[in-house]
Symmetry: C2
Subunit: 448 residues, 2 copies
């Protein structure tokens, strides 16, 4: 992409309304723009990140056997009356009356809609297990939206809903999603830790939050250091086999958010030199809740013995838009964002230090073509801004590798390569620089 | 994808509520499920089609230099008060009051939001032209939603908004979108015809609808036969060059919907043997509307001479979810849907005629692996349903090629290949069948 044809409205100053670093950097780098309180437009750079996160989430859901559907944003209140949640949900639910005076709502979650789909479509135990997921915009009317996309009102969420014949089967599904989440966050470049959680208003008896560690995280977490050394399930894990071992390994040691932290247990179970206290951000939450929705909503299948069975359900959420902010909280420095390659909006920033100079333009165009042909995503700064501005913009938007081309280097057949994560730079022959960039990106695309 | 692990709730009978064939077939083939009046969930098969349409639309927008953003579904009423449309829009706008009693709405379109983004971000003529597009769910509270996704209340739309310094530049942008739309619909497998249109409530002085021809179309259209022979711009068209020739060629002959049809002109301008009267479906609409929004909303840039200039705008819509229905209206038969390859939910249906028979299972598994390795998208019916049911389901869901494998064929080293569009079948050696399927799909993937 040529920057001159792109839309990248960066801000030099930090907007006053932004309290946390991810919000500040997303506004400054032209990733998002507020449209109303807690409601954002995703500008081109931000949307590319969002789509990459979404795609990683999707691929890991598919790998774990979940099947994608898309449920509408506007739901009928009647469905929520069936489950008993319409009155219970409170003011966070955006209630709407349509032109025919029917009560509608903007879905904050979709247990009711998916249970109705299941109820009307699935008749036999032979069709189980089913795990249907959805990546869709949701709305929660937060009383005080803040922290940018970390606690917005309109947000993109992946929510999966599973239906199993027995409690045992549904536990196996829970383990599958548990393992899928470990892979998902690792692929994004995040260290995630599952922590036992309260089930809250969704209900149920088995629930974990996935917390990523970030110095600026919203909550305090306490864990056994060795949890951080557990291995993430590999890509060739058989997701249709027994995954209880993965679950056991990751949950056998102490790990808790401040919400349910028990300091006495912590000190008893964790040797002093293994106690880690850190800050964390919730990016996923999985629940087993049994028949809480299937029972009142009348979802049933015929079992092997001909008897009707009420399926066991679970739900599994990932905050897709929230993750964009969470990654930045976990990966930034004073100059701006530091994107992991798999979610970087572009992989390489190509900087032309003298746009308009024929030789430099030609060298840049050639590198741009070669990188693009090699499947590398390049943002090419072909504008006539001064070098200092170009450098600070590239650092701010955090592309993993910068390739810097100036008239002097072109004369000597050289380019400069800069690695955003550690700030290192090296001058290489043009060909060596090109190859180095391609190798660097390719080696970091798949992190798990 | 293995059918046993998929979610494909097909219906044997035609639902009473569905009046038109696309609605009937989308319900019967398990593509969609109604959730409330005019509001649908997209089940796995439907969602795959929707995503493919969306991706073709996206690629052609990108090719034409438009840049993707994502605007929120919920908008502030204040923005619409600035343009004067809040009161004017009528009951189709879904009006919402949030918990702080602020007036909000579910966006039926996004001229106001995008103009505010532009106003706050773009300062100089050097940043023009800009063309920002958005593929997002919109809501229009139709008084009588019907025809399934063809006239639903919640619908997916691609809407692009252009900003140019001069009328002349904005005309060039209009031609770019005009050409992009011709390519978009051709790539989907549709014959589209641009027709001059009223500009309606969006305003402006230049507007075309893109109509696809389908026997069951919603409106009557009148055109010169030779319009149907015009060439679609090729993929290597220079979209940054002068495209007025394409526009002239496609608009110089008579083509009009019944809304603005002038029979006297039709008979005068079109020789009798060239007069075509047909049924059509609107799938796109482009508008040039000048400063209708930029002026009242105060969007200005500094021109080359230092004076402030109010940019010229246009908007360009494609009904993405509507297209899923429109394709079916244009391409079906008594047995079901007939998908063009580029938008087929899967490209090949592999039918195992005796699931459970070791040799047949092994042959199918081998073909499934080989097709998947060749990059072909396969739905493999590995269930134990009877053959007749499998055949009718495959015909109903309309995958372009079926590969039929039974125990007798396996013994003889043969498979049967069936082409959905013309119903032809041929028996080939397993290897020849495999190659034929791959060639057939590859040759039909790119239609323009």
């Amino acid at each position: 992409m040529l920057l001159s044809r792109y839309f990248l409205p960066v801000l030099r100053d930090t907007p006053k309304e932004a309290e946390i670093v991810s919000h500040q950097l997303m506004l400054r780098s032209g990733m998002i723009k507020q449209s109303a309180a807690g409601i954002y437009s995703w500008l081109p750079l931000g949307l590319r990140v969002l789509k990459k996160i979404e795609q990683i989430v999707r691929e890991e859901q598919n790998r774990a056997g979940a099947v994608e559907i898309l449920m509408p944003t506007i739901q009928s209140a009647d469905l929520w009356r069936e489950s008993g949640r319409y009155e219970a949900y409170g003011k966070e639910m955006l209630r709407i009356v349509d032109r025919h005076e029917r009560d509608m709502l903007f879905g904050p979650t979709a247990e009711e809609v998916v249970t109705a789909i299941f109820r009307d479509s699935v008749r036999s135990y032979k069709d189980l297990p089913k795990n249907l997921y959805n990546i869709q915009w949701k709305f929660r009317d937060e009383i005080r939206p803040r922290f940018g996309v970390m606690r917005g009102r309109e947000f993109l969420m992946k929510d999966a809903y599973s239906f199993d014949l027995t409690k045992e089967d549904s536990r196996a599904t829970y383990y599958r999603m548990f393992a899928a989440y470990l892979r998902t966050f690792a692929r994004i470049g995040l260290q995630s830790v599952p922590m036992k959680a309260d089930t809250g208003p969704i209900g149920g008896d088995l629930s974990h939050e996935f917390i990523i560690l970030a110095e600026t995280g919203e909550s305090q977490v306490f864990l056994h250091e060795d949890v951080l050394k557990e291995k993430v399930p590999s890509a060739d894990t058989n997701f249709f086999g027994d995954l209880s071992g993965i679950f056991e390994a990751w949950t056998s040691r102490y790990a808790a958010t401040d919400e349910i932290h028990d300091n006495e247990r912590f000190e008893k179970e964790v040797p002093e030199d293994k106690r880690v206290t850190a800050r964390g951000i919730e990016v996923g939450h999985i629940f087993h809740f049994g028949t809480k929705y299937s029972e009142p909503m009348g979802a049933k299948v015929q079992g092997p013995d001909g008897q009707l069975v009420v399926p066991e359900m679970g739900s599994y959420g990932v905050g897709v838009s929230r993750l964009a902010g969470a990654i930045i909280e976990a990966s930034h420095d004073d100059a701006g964002i530091v994107w992991p390659v798999p979610v970087a909006p572009f992989e390489v920033g190509l900087i032309n230090l003298r746009a308009g100079d024929a030789a430099t333009d030609a060298a840049c165009q050639d590198l741009y073509s070669k990188l693009s042909s090699a499947g590398i995503e390049v943002l090419y700064d072909d504008t006539d801004e001064r070098a200092g501005g170009k450098f600070s913009t590239m650092d701010l938007i955090g592309l993993p590798v910068q390739l810097i081309v100036g008239p002097k280097g072109v004369k000597n057949g050289e380019v400069e390569v800069k690695y955003r994560a550690n700030g290192e730079r090296e001058t290489l022959s043009t060909e060596a620089g090109l190859n180095k960039v391609i190798e660097t990106i390719n080696s970091q695309r798949v992190l798990a």
